[in-house]
């Protein structure tokens, strides 16, 4: 009983102290890139790189600003504050000066949309990428 209780509390602690889930950048499986530099990752998510090297249009998917995974992704993967991304997207949206990402409402929708959209790029919690969706590392 004590052992059971100890395992349970360890599990609970693990769940509580774990970050929102380390985010990994994922792409549609047709995207040839195996890895991205930090600079290129930033260009993609600030909507300044519109084509992959083979000419396919880059399609960016993101979660809402308030989503813990989005905040984790912005800080850890891009080393940007979420509000910096918002500033760029809002300038594009409200002036017509550029494209904006497609906002999805959940990790499940992110997985589905990236899987079914050629040229898609987004992010998922560690270990969730599967099927048509492939992880690319940021170097």
């Amino acid at each position: 009983m004590i052992r059971y209780f100890r395992s349970l509390s360890l599990l609970l602690i693990a769940v509580l102290v774990a970050p929102a889930g380390a985010a990994q950048i994922v792409v549609h499986h047709d995207v040839a890139r195996q890895a991205l530099t930090l600079n290129v990752a930033r260009l993609i998510f600030t909507m300044r790189l519109l084509h992959w090297p083979d000419g396919t249009r880059v399609r960016v998917f993101v979660l809402p600003d308030a989503d813990p995974l989005h905040q984790e992704f912005a800080k850890r993967s891009l080393d940007l504050y979420p509000r910096q991304l918002r500033r760029v997207w809002d300038r594009h949206l409200f002036s017509g000066a550029g494209a904006i990402p497609v906002e999805v409402s959940s990790v499940e929708e992110m997985l589905r949309r990236v899987a079914e959209t050629p040229g898609a790029v987004g992010y998922l919690p560690d270990g969730l990428a599967r099927g048509e969706v492939r992880v690319v590392n940021v170097q």
């Binding site: 600079n39 930033r42 519109l50 249009r57 308030a66 409200f94 017509g96 000066a97 494209a99």
Partner: protein, 400 residues
């Protein structure tokens, strides 16, 4: 191609985009994105009128916008925005086309990109002009008035024409260049500012405006520096009852901007110079006049929590850098135009609360010395304005 012809082609396209939005299947990338925003403000001043009868408290500040955008092809993006803006005596709220453009990406690689825009294009002057009417993107209740005078807003807001944009990217810096030529929009507010009053005659753009900007950013976005410039001319053809002769006004509007992000702090500063030249206007004090408007501000904003930002700002604006005190004009006009109408020195403190990602509330206090930022349309008798005054402003904004 004349601007009216551009719009005859573009506008039906944009209208169609809006109508079709509900018909297009979700999930495809041909879908139309529709977004919008609304802001209602309240302004109370201790004296003078700013956006309505603000001495008694004014609600005459409302901004409504709705925009639509879609990828027409892999390389062509269409977007447009309708805007209704009511601001006291200056803007009535009549809906107008804020922008309506086609953006053609010619080249986009990891090292550089190049594109062409055609239509009504927002002018990227300073850090905030392009989205100055969207509360969520502003650094305060309004854009800093000393650099982005509300009374000449329409003249520098957008241009109907053609623009080229190009950027290079590296680990050191991203450098962007923007060049545009187009017809500006003038309105009665612009006439009041540059001619001193509203006349029967016609005050209209004289040829094309030219707009240019160089923007240098660190790839992590922590430093942004830009130099932007617009050059424009207007002509006045007098009406039968006008006491002044025909004439022309040429001006250059230049802004140097710097923004640094350090942890939870954002520091922003901009400096503006506006050389203005009046030609003609026989029989009026404007004949042969020259002046150089000058202004600057510093702002520090602290992200106290993810949903709360606190800011302070100090700025000064002068109608003519050769007459900072305004005394020359006061003497030349025998006191009819008091010195304090020729400058504004403004200290501001404000707070922004993002209640949710869609709802934002702002409160701001401003201490003013001078009345340069006021519109003489709202304050028709310069000698009746009060030099030292306070403003308290509240706004609620919603976006979707």
């Amino acid at each position: 191609m004349s601007s009216s012809r551009i719009f005859r082609v573009l506008l039906p396209g944009l209208a169609l985009m809006c109508c079709c939005s509900s018909l297009v299947s979700a999930g495809g990338f041909d879908e139309v994105e529709v977004h919008g925003f609304a802001t209602q403000g309240f302004i109370k001043t201790s004296a003078n009128s700013f956006f309505g009868d603000s001495e008694d408290g004014s609600f005459e500040f409302t901004e409504l916008g709705v925009n639509a955008s879609m990828d027409a092809t892999e390389d062509i993006r269409l977007s447009g925005q309708l805007l209704s803006r009511r601001a006291g005596e200056m803007y009535s709220g009549t809906p107008s086309i804020d922008f309506a453009l086609a953006d053609f990406t010619v080249r986009s690689t990891e090292n550089d990109n190049f594109g062409i825009m055609l239509g009504r294009i927002k002018n990227p002057l300073g850090l905030f002009n392009e989205t100055r009417d969207v509360a969520f993107t502003r650094p305060g209740f309004l854009v800093p008035q000393v650099v982005y005078y509300d009374k000449v807003r329409n003249l520098i807001l957008s241009a109907d024409g053609l623009a080229a944009r190009m950027s290079t990217f590296s680990e050191l810096a991203n450098v962007s260049l923007y060049l545009a030529a187009g017809q500006p929009l003038t309105d009665e507010n612009v006439e009041y500012v540059y001619l001193g009053s509203g006349y029967e005659g016609d005050f209209s753009p004289d040829g094309l405006s030219y707009i240019g900007r160089v923007l240098v950013e660190k790839p992590d976005g922590t430093v942004r520096a830009s130099l932007s410039i617009a050059s424009t001319s207007m002509k006045f053809e007098r009406g039968a009852s006008d006491p002044i002769g025909n004439g022309g006004v040429s001006l250059v509007y230049g802004i140097g901007s710097l923004q640094c992000v350090v942890n939870d702090w954002t520091f922003t500063s901009e400096y503006m110079q506006e050389p203005i030249e009046w030609r003609g206007f026989v029989g009026s004090p404007l004949a042969g006049k020259e002046a150089t408007g000058e202004s600057y501000y510093f702002q520090a904003a602290w992200q106290a929590r993810t949903d709360v930002e606190v800011m302070i700002r100090y700025g000064e604006g002068y109608a003519d850098r050769a007459d900072h005190s305004g005394v020359r004009i006061e003497q030349a006009t025998g006191g009819a135009i008091p010195a304090h109408t020729q400058y504004s020195k403004i200290a501001t403190a404000g707070i922004r609360w993002d209640v949710s990602s869609q709802l934002m509330v702002r409160a701001e206090y401003q201490r003013h010395n001078g009345t340069l930022i006021l519109s003489n349309r709202e304050n028709p008798v310069p000698a009746a304005t009060v030099p030292d005054w306070d403003m308290f402003a509240l706004s609620v904004s919603y976006r979707f």
